[in-house]
Amino acid sequence: MSVEVDTSTRTPSAPAAEAVTMAKALNRALRDSLAEDDTVLIFGEDVGRLGGVFRVTEGLRAEFGSTRVWDSPLAESGIIGTAIGMAMNGMRPVVEMQFDAYAYPAFEQIVSHVAKMRNRTKGRVALPITIRIPYAGDIGGVEHHSDSSEAYWTSTPGLTVVTPSNPADAYALLRESIASDDPVVFMEPKSRYWMKETVSLPVATGPMHRAQVLREGTDATLLAYGPTVRTALDSAEAGAEHGLSVEVIDLRTLSPFDDETVSASVRKTSRAAIIHEAARFGGYGAEVAARLTERNFTHLSAPILRITGFDVPYPSPKLEEYFLPTVERVLDALESWDWEL
């Protein structure tokens, strides 16, 4: 099942539609940003000659030269820390953390500086940095290559956290993130890098921070982002076979949360579940469940469910299938609700 996104109205000059992967869409977004704005710089581990281990920066060094796109020494705190200095000097650095567990050495720079510089200086120093982080699992990666670290970033005031689930959004959200004057943690779902969609790039970019209803329904709302959007759509399809009309929302931006779109859906359906790969305890789903309940308590006929990875470290490849939230797990959750259909 492929995600159908209506791109017809978003296309400015109607370039030819073609099947592009998310990796390619991201690559195109970087290319177009580099071409339009001289202050955009790309550096990090292996993003130059190699084009990144996921090939997202492929060809950019060749096209823009090694003063716009280059390989840095291997040190994540160094990458974020120098990006901060460049941003203070008028640049818009776009940096890659090779895998999300490898953003952790940069944690202090991200949390204590990237997130706080604007506030510290009463808005006088903006840090328009985009931190690209390939995240989540389902790629058969060895330890530390499949973390879902979004909760660390979403619980940090000052950061904007974005994650696309399909190529068109990947393009639009990355362009918007780079153009944003706020620092953005841009999380790329690794398992979706090679997902193809027929789309005419460039798509027009829209306002940031909006969730998107991908499928309408009336019985329950499934909330998902990044890698689990596909799971949600598949589950809605399977639910339909059981007579359930399930609405699916792709959150797209995790921080801030688009209450308007999501609460409207939840008030309509009265039941919702959030699906993510990360462990449940203290995961992003906790915020989603808590705030939806705060805002829609009397409209709910069941608690907001969290369908997530287990509260264990991300497992080795052979155990991934048991860890990751599956369509079956979603359907079990749907069934657990007390249906009075």
């Binding site: 040190a75 120098t82 200095g85 640049m91 204590s112 604007r118 009463k122 000052g158 921070h209």
Partner: protein
């Protein structure tokens, strides 16, 4: 085995700290790695600024003891490093200071009230970094060394003439970020000067438990970067070394690490109790190396200053101290709603809602 690596200038710094003026105000015969002593006019300016800085530190420490500031880390004793290094900067250069470097901010021209806003608890950074070409003083140790490197890299990419200078302490040199900054700066050959103020202590931890190296300047060789050890209490040496290093940077020759040997004469901050970890004799021992005394002696010996000049400077320093008292006597206007104003460029509904909560609370308390 053939590996292409540059081998020029591969050496460790001289053991003897570079110094022009000794503790008795006389010229030394220490080798000075090609550096030349600044002229009397420059030295007189440096002297004046050191006197200001010392008076400033004493005044602020006093006000802190009175409870007018939440906390204060004084650089008393380190005036030569603070003033010598900062004065070497061109206006277009950028400074990346730490919490210890109020003296550098003062030297950079930041108004006293704006320097002290953070320590008084008004706001995290009280001045406009863009106006003074000076980054907010960093508290997380060594993090600012990477900002200085990145800023310099951007300057280099733009073809701008600016260099950056960052201070770090002997303790901070142990943090991973210091290493990463040295390495990035040297690989990228950025115009960055790392001024390592080795004041012998990181709070209570003495140098010998911080490093087993002969000197911290020895680190530089491992990055293919020049390293210098200077007498950090000789402002002439600091000024000359930093001026040369900034010049090197602007010429495209990359970063320099300068270790300034000095001593923290005061406690770490007002809440520290140094009697727990160091002897009074040690502090006394260091008084003989005082940076101001020796320069005064030297400038008197060359005739650059006399009693009248010294008095005029002291009087100006008094006026500065008074301006500090004045600034700290004026309570800053802080609008609680500013809590929400600067977190994001793009407004957020959550924050607007929370601001309403605070507005209601303030109204209920009759405060708004």
């Amino acid at each position: 085995m053939t590996i292409d690596v540059p081998t020029t200038g591969r050496s460790l710094p001289q053991l003897q700290p570079i110094s022009f003026i000794d503790a008795d105000g006389r010229l030394t015969d220490t080798p000075t790695a090609g550096l030349r002593i600044p002229g009397d006019r420059t030295l007189t300016g440096l002297y004046r600024q050191m006197v200001f800085v010392r008076r400033f530190e004493a005044q602020v420490t006093h006000l802190t003891r009175q409870g007018r500031l939440a906390t204060y880390p004084s650089a008393a004793g380190q005036e030569a490093a603070e003033v010598g290094a900062t004065t070497a900067l061109a206006p277009g250069d950028w400074l990346f200071p730490t919490y210890r470097d109020s003296a550098a901010l003062l030297t950079r021209g930041v108004p006293v009230g704006e320097i002290l806003a953070a320590f008084r608890g008004d706001w995290h950074c009280g001045f406009d970094p863009n106006e003074y070409h000076t980054s907010p003083a960093a508290t997380p140790l060594a993090t600012q060394t990477l900002h200085a490197t990145g800023f310099a890299m951007a300057a280099k990419l733009k073809g701008a003439d600016a260099a950056t200078l960052t201070f770090l302490g002997d303790g901070a040199s142990s943090e991973g970020d210091a290493h990463e900054a040295f390495n990035f700066a040297s690989v990228w050959q950025t115009p960055t000067v790392f001024v390592l103020q080795n004041n012998q202590y990181a709070i209570s931890t003495p140098l010998r438990e911080q490093t087993n190296a002969t000197m911290l300047a020895d680190r530089a060789a491992g990055y293919g970067m020049p390293g210098l050890r200077v007498d950090g209490n000789d402002v002439a040496a600091v000024f000359a070394a930093v001026t040369a290093a900034l010049e090197r940077g602007r010429n495209g020759d990359g970063p320099t690490l300068i270790e300034c040997l000095t001593y923290r004469m005061e406690s770490h901050t007002n809440s520290d109790d140094p009697t727990k970890y160091r002897e009074a004799e040690e502090v006394e021992h260091w008084r003989q190396f005082d940076p101001i005394d020796r320069l005064e002696k030297y400038l008197r010996s060359t005739g650059a200053v006399d009693d009248a000049g010294i008095e005029e400077i002291a009087a100006a320093a008094e006026a500065l101290a008074e301006s500090v008292r004045d600034a700290m006597n004026r309570e800053a206007e802080i609008d609680p709603l500013e809590l929400f104003a600067h977190v994001y460029a793009q407004p957020r509904t959550d924050l607007a809602e929370q601001q309403q909560v605070l507005e209601a609370e303030l109204a209920a308390a009759g405060r708004a």
